[in-house]
Symmetry: C5
């Protein structure tokens, strides 16, 4: 699990636990399995209804991505691309043929192969842009799943509270149980807000963050591939790709 | 009915039913026909007011589409398009004339016929883009109907609750009936949230999901039609169209 | 009045009336002229403040448009445009000079006259696009008036409720009147939500729907005018314009 | 003050005053200086924090613009521009040199001078578009100030209510003062909603309305300047500029 | 600290303090360390969860930027750019080589060096636009951190209130402590709204304001660099760059 997630979870849940203890009430008061099931699975059920099976099947993958974000090193891919540009300039585009076999990233490998095959630059741009745009759509659907969940969890929390209140109201004569009834009714509101704000929304935000990093990584590759094809000066290419990075992350020896 | 809808309905409604039972109150307490009519038909009435008759007449079709989503197989249409590209390259565009008769999708058939007739590519693009853009508008209106409903259902639930409270308040002297009055007043809030979150919103989300899949399907066709006309290499066309799909769905034998 | 508006009004208001009756309280309980005036005119006053006199003067026109929507028949204008394209092809653009005099729609007539006068196509496009874009702005202002009203009506309803509560609270000793005071305070909330959800929002949605239909109608004309000028094949023009319509509305004899 | 503002203020505040009187409670009940200060200045303080000093210094100017909107007469500027186009056609662009001196609007004068100086049309377009885009940014900041205020006023009203409630709760024993305490607590909510809905939001809407009118005015000038430079026919220019106006505002003698 | 922040803080917090004192309740009543910790750190924890470590590490920098905004003087950079344009016109682009060494702004220096090196203008535009677009992304992430916090603080305030209410409800028999319990429960709502509206939102707004000023500053440089390369007339360049500024800020001697 990445550090920010871990740190955030410890702080946020620690604070919540601490303030439950601080009320002096027994912790068991904040636990009601039925309410938890209603809020978590009720809202998940409505979220599932709103999606199609293909997205649902991807959910475990999305959850995995939340906790195990890929490691992007733009510096590495930049120097790799500059290296390719240099050999392409010296020995021609065909010289890249061997190098491509060692490229792990499928997007970069496919793009470079198209260059080596002498494909029209307009078609290469089109192919790589379709790929990015469809990846964007897919990632949006992933983050959207958790955003729908985040919207529905408090709604189901509220439904649970209203169910509890209706049951309680019909039975107002028995004043001794009003407090307990109210407490129980409020618990679903509590769970709904908890699920939305400390589970579903952070998961969706994390996925969107991962997506932004991956997009920038792919955009660097796209720029690099097209520059290599048009035979740009490797120094200029390097500077172009460095402009994706914030100043402090660029190597000091940037200017040759 | 598609699996995700079915699964979601069972889970969400199961949870709600379970938590009503768990309150220990008789289930009949959560049923009030008058309240249900107000929330469902009142909000539907206001939704109908907001639309014109043409959209209203389509509503049964929309409802049908929610439960019976078309089956899109991008792989099939890609291999079909690549096949057309191959025969066009070998035997000329006119050779497609017969093949078009077997194309079921009207959008694809119309596009290919324009190609065979030698229409200017700019005009073909224009025609097909108008078609997609207007389809987009129509689908938006469909999903929009359910989104308007989803916004109005809780509003009518709230109106019902306020009506109930006003009637009850005017009669506060009779303390024995306060609880029952409150319970009844709350029921419209309950129904309003239920209609919005577990009926109208999932229906609209489903329609938008269907729309996204259909758009991608049509975009694949549009790219294919234009590539066939400009005489692109079928291998390149295949790769271009595969870039619409996520990596794992592409055939492993993609590179020839 | 168009059918959808009428139907919607009957259903929505019928349901509300029915549920007021169903409370068993006398209907007069839901009527308070002062509250109605505050909510309706208070919110209208704030809406008027937010606009300038020109928009305010148009409000009666907008209201008229809500109830009496123009009848658009795209099929008719398409066959008219195709007819023009045919005579332009046969007898030259000047042959349209007489036909234009019978064209009722000012947008179409102006556009065709520019074509007959031999104006540069870029300038024609510019003129017609400015016209559409400014029509869009004006319609937006109209729908916006009712959207502002829809946002302010519940706000004034809430202001009325708070005014009522403050007056009541200061007088808590007199417990006999608490219920009545609360009921009265709640009535402005009721009216505010009613005005927003069953008057202002449907009016704005109706205006936006009319606008969408008019825009499509004008876009068909714009495409037709430019095609006639560039001398497109009338068959192709027909197919281009049909692509604005949903499949089932196109004539079966479309392919010649 | 323009008529719509005046009318709106009289209606909206009249209604509010009337409904306060109608409660039968003394008007003084709705007045609490401390609460008013908290809501108005507290929210203004937070709004000031959110902006930088340059914007704050402009606020009096913005307030002035709300009440004293400039008078735009598009008809006048159109005939002026058509007049310039005619003399430019007859006597050459240089003939405009004298006329520019009498042009009051700085944007129009600057643009025409660039034309007379023979500046490249691309550069003129760029200069005038930067000017419009930066004017747009500045006006946005002005309207944004009041929108931030409109969002913060109810928030400070709510803060005041919570402060009041906390103080009251800690003192629940003294039941005689509960009503008064509640009334006082509610007053900040009342002021917050009042400031947002009947002061800040209408001011921002007014500024946005002024902005829209000024933008259209400037767009007419921009189109006119560029047409004069490219030597368009004055009749065509007239028709182009009239297309900015709604049909009924165009002169009947438009067609020559 | 810039003046607007200081002024705003004094006014807003002064008003809040004043209205707490005005309730007559002891100030200590509004202080509860546990509640403060829950709201501030709980919401910060959830915000941290939603971001990745890179953003978290930048937070102190962002906080610094809120209080110590850079001083932008567009007039200075405009005259600098006009000076460069003049020497480039007189002595050729290479004459800028020395001048660049004294340019402090890295963006401007890099851009001018590319010009001196004779890089293709399309590539220069691309490099500088990537730099601006990525800066935009980074600043968005910074402001986004505080916006997420502003959304989560009231949510954690509400969670705290619900926790307090549940604990209190379960213990309703002990009526003597209800008031105190409610007061304590409300305090987290109070803190949540306070953190959002008077800390997090103003910080984010401040960062967005700084960003807008920096972007305009960089856009002036971008326009200047490209104009210098294309050899535009320095007078025209000056007028183009002045069009970024509001009329009153332009020097009166603008026209030569």
């Amino acid at each position: 699990m990445d550090l920010a997630s871990l740190l955030g979870i410890i702080i946020a849940y620690g604070m919540l636990l601490f303030s439950m203890v601080a009320t002096g009430a027994p912790l068991i008061l904040f636990w009601d399995l039925g309410s938890l099931l209603l809020v978590v699975f009720g809202s998940l059920g409505a979220t599932i209804m709103s999606n199609d099976m293909k997205v649902i099947k991807q959910v475990p993958t999305y959850v995995g991505l939340v906790f195990k974000s890929k490691n992007y090193s733009p510096m590495e891919v930049i120097s790799q691309l500059v290296g390719f540009a240099e050999s392409a300039r010296k020995d021609g585009l065909l010289s890249l043929d061997d190098a491509i076999k060692d490229v792990e990233d499928k997007f970069l490998a496919d793009g470079l192969r198209l260059v080596v095959d002498g494909t029209d630059p307009i078609i290469i741009t089109k192919i790589l842009e379709i790929e990015l745009s469809k990846m964007d759509d897919r990632h949006n659907r992933g983050a959207g799943f958790f955003e729908t969940w985040a919207a529905l969890a408090p709604a189901f929390g509220m439904l649970g509270t209203v169910i509890g209140l209706i049951a309680m109201m019909a039975n107002l004569g028995d004043t001794s149980s009003i407090g307990k009834g109210m407490a129980l009714a409020l618990i679903t509101t509590f769970y709904g807000s908890l699920v939305a704000n400390s589970i579903a929304l952070p998961m969706s935000a994390k996925l969107r963050g991962n997506h932004d990093r991956e997009m920038m990584y792919k955009e660097i590759m796209l720029e690099g591939i097209l520059s290599i094809q048009s035979g740009d000066n490797p120094r200029i290419l390097e500077q172009k790709l460095y402009s994706f990075l914030p100043g402090p992350e660029r190597p000091v020896s940037q200017e040759p």
